[in-house]
């Protein structure tokens, strides 16, 4: 019995719903194969609305009432900051699949995530793009009222400092904005070689279209958030030449991924995105851990056993080879676990992510 706490209504539902779908898909597949050591997986899905109080309430309900073995979620980093300590105190694993903010896993040893840390990905992305486009200076734009895009920006900023690339201007927008022309006009006036953007696919796509509409031709370099086929629905060809680094892309040809993409499309009639892929993999990881332990029926001991088994798991899923890496808490003690994955660099060609091979 596993708890799923994701935002299924409200503004964050755009992410929460695909994540839920990813879990559901993985669970159905596992159960269709006879479950884990003969036990079927039961998902207890709750809506946390992307609000911190709701996330805490849902966590508590899952832990104390439904007595689940572990919890996946919540959707937003902000909610994890509120709900994580609850799980940690109750000695229940909280496994985030979409929380990228700094400091998540530092909250305690029961906090896990398989969402890639931007700090692992972006240096490579930037270096590759700079080399390819012979970039001398860049402009930056990011969403500044959202923990996800802001922490992406923080990493970009550090990377740019480390690689000594001058920034012509730094612009921001807020969630729900649809008109970025003011910022883009300003960016255009500074004439950068590329635009670095930490944003979600929806906003990024609109940004690209509006940039081209204003005659701004510099290529984009994006973070994690770009990684969704949604990007092309709007941007069409406006995103050509964009560099994105990620362990996952819908076009990644590994069999595990192609199976996932096909199965997802068949079940939900839509293209999966990275959030769904990470959720799918996360459940696969948990299943691997569960397989390695003996379920005793006592919730507390089973939870502890699961907690012990999880860090040892290493799989190769839709997002490629995966293992955990332990982080260090604020107090200097070993804390939770982050993903340890090698990113790939993709470039957008003809409205598709193409693995960048140096050409």
């Amino acid at each position: 019995k596993i708890g799923i706490a994701e935002a299924l209504t409200g503004g964050a539902a755009q992410y929460g719903v695909p994540i839920r779908n990813g879990f559901q898909l993985a669970a159905d597949e596992i159960n269709a194969k006879g479950g884990i050591n003969g036990n079927k997986l039961v998902l207890v899905v709750e809506d946390e609305q992307g609000k911190k109080e709701e996330a805490i309430n849902v966590f508590k309900k899952l832990i104390f009432q439904d007595k689940v073995l572990m919890i996946f979620g919540p959707t937003l980093s902000n909610s994890m900051f509120a709900a994580g300590p609850v799980a940690n105190a109750a000695k229940v694993v909280a496994f985030g699949t979409s929380n990228t903010a700094n400091g998540i896993s530092e909250m305690g040893p029961y906090i896990f995530r398989n969402s890639v840390m931007e700090s692992d990905v972006l240096p490579v992305t930037v270096r590759t793009a700079v080399k390819h486009y012979k970039i001398k200076k860049v402009a930056v734009i990011y969403g500044n009222d959202d923990a996800f895009t802001k922490s992406g920006y923080d990493v970009f900023k550090k990377v740019l400092e480390d690689q000594k690339i001058p920034v012509t201007t730094t612009e921001t927008y807020v969630k729900g904005d649809v008109d970025f022309k003011a910022q883009l006009t300003k960016i255009k006036a500074t004439n950068p070689d590329a635009i670095i953007c930490s944003g979600l696919a929806e906003e990024a796509a609109t940004l690209m279209v509006q940039a081209r509409g204003l005659g701004l031709k510099a290529p984009f370099i994006g973070g994690n958030g770009f990684n969704s086929p949604k990007l092309f629905e709007v941007s069409k060809t406006a995103g050509e030449g964009t560099f994105v680094g990620s362990p996952w892309a819908n076009t990644n040809p590994t069999p595990a991924n192609q199976h996932f993409v096909a199965a997802y499309k068949q079940k939900y009639g839509a293209e999966p995105n990275q959030f769904a892929a990470q959720a799918y993999d996360a459940l696969t990881i948990a299943a691997a851990a569960l397989k390695s332990i003996k379920v005793s029926g006592n919730v507390a001991t089973d939870r502890e056993a699961l907690h012990g088994a999880l860090p040892k798991v290493s799989i190769s899923g839709a997002t490629g080879p995966f293992k955990f890496r332990q982080s260090v808490g604020k107090d200097g003690k070993p804390a939770g676990y982050d993903a340890d994955q090698t990113p790939f660099i993709y470039v957008i060609r003809d409205g598709k992510f193409v693995l960048f091979t140096g050409k």
């Binding site: 409200g10 719903v17 612009e171 729900g176 008109d179 003011a182 006009t185 609109t206 709007v234």
Partner: protein, 293 residues
């Protein structure tokens, strides 16, 4: 760069003005802060989208569908909820809370019907003409939005100022009781206003959905409090106020993003609004109606 920014400000301002038009109408006539106006906006977009994608109807039919569906929703909210609250002399702000409830219901319904993800209009429908004047780029759709915003404003303004119904509406706005004694069908005009305002909201939603090619159940929310700002800045219920308030907010936002810092765009816009209210306590066009002692 300045020319382009001015054009950007004009289009953004027109978007705000267009949204606020119906909002301010309801505000002025029914004295209700109708927080479901964002939902009307959303409903218009979805109605047009459905007609256009499912029935393969041309865009013009989509516009009609947007007006009709939003208008009827607005009518329903008025007839089923607001009308009863008026009859019961519900205190101030209670109708506003009812419209919050209506919004929740409508957005949930939209999420159930259409899913939570962003929907798009089919490409072939999007007018893609673009005009380039020197360094200034404008899309045809943006010009259309500016044009329609000004056109609707002017029409509505003239109707209110110079027709029998317009006079009646202004009478109701001041005192429904006095209006009733003049033989004005107050309830009928309330319903008509709700319909018109919602239909205007629907058209605004459609145009803006088209412009940014993004339709979601929650698309009405971010613009809602900008809309409130516009309406109050302009002066409650004043059509000119909606236009000038919208343009003001558009310009304040764009220019502060362009010349100060984009982090502070909204802060500057709201800060200015705060200052303006201190100087003009009833908005740009509002008059303080102090009861005579």
């Amino acid at each position: 760069m300045l020319e382009q920014q001015l054009v950007n400000a004009l289009t953004l301002g027109s978007v705000y003005a267009l949204f606020s038009l119906g909002f301010t109408l309801v505000f002025g006539v029914l004295e209700v802060i109708n927080l479901s106006h964002g939902a009307m906006f959303m409903a218009g977009s979805f109605a047009a989208l459905t007609v256009v994608t499912r029935l393969k109807a041309p865009l013009a039919v989509g516009i009609l569908a947007a007006m009709l569906v939003s208008g009827l929703l607005g009518l329903a909210i008025d007839a089923l909820i607001l009308k009863r609250l008026r009859a019961r002399h519900a205190p101030h702000l209670i109708p506003m809370i009812a419209t919050i409830g209506a919004t929740t219901v409508l957005t949930s319904a939209a999420q159930g019907l259409f899913g939570v993800e962003v929907q798009r209009f089919p490409d072939e429908l999007l007018p893609t003409r673009e005009f380039i004047f020197g360094s200034v780029h404008v899309r045809a759709l943006e010009l259309a939005i500016v044009g329609i915003a000004f056109l609707l404003m002017t029409t509505l303004f003239l109707v209110l100022r110079h027709t029998r119904q317009g006079r009646a509406l202004r009478a109701i706005a001041e005192s429904p009781k006095a209006a009733a004694l003049l033989g004005i069908n107050v309830e009928g005009l309330f319903l008509a206003t709700s319909f018109t305002a919602a239909a205007l909201g629907g058209v605004a939603g459609l145009l803006i959905g088209l412009n940014f090619n993004s339709v979601t159940p929650l698309m009405g929310q971010p613009i809602l409090h900008k809309g409130i700002a516009v309406v109050i800045l302009g002066g409650m219920g004043d059509i000119r106020g909606a236009l000038f308030g919208g343009l003001f907010l558009g310009f304040a936002e764009v220019l502060s993003k362009a010349y100060l810092s984009s982090q502070m765009g909204d802060a500057v816009a709201f800060g200015l609004l705060f200052l303006i209210l201190l100087v003009r306590p009833a908005g740009l066009f509002g008059r303080v109606l102090e009861r005579k002692a």
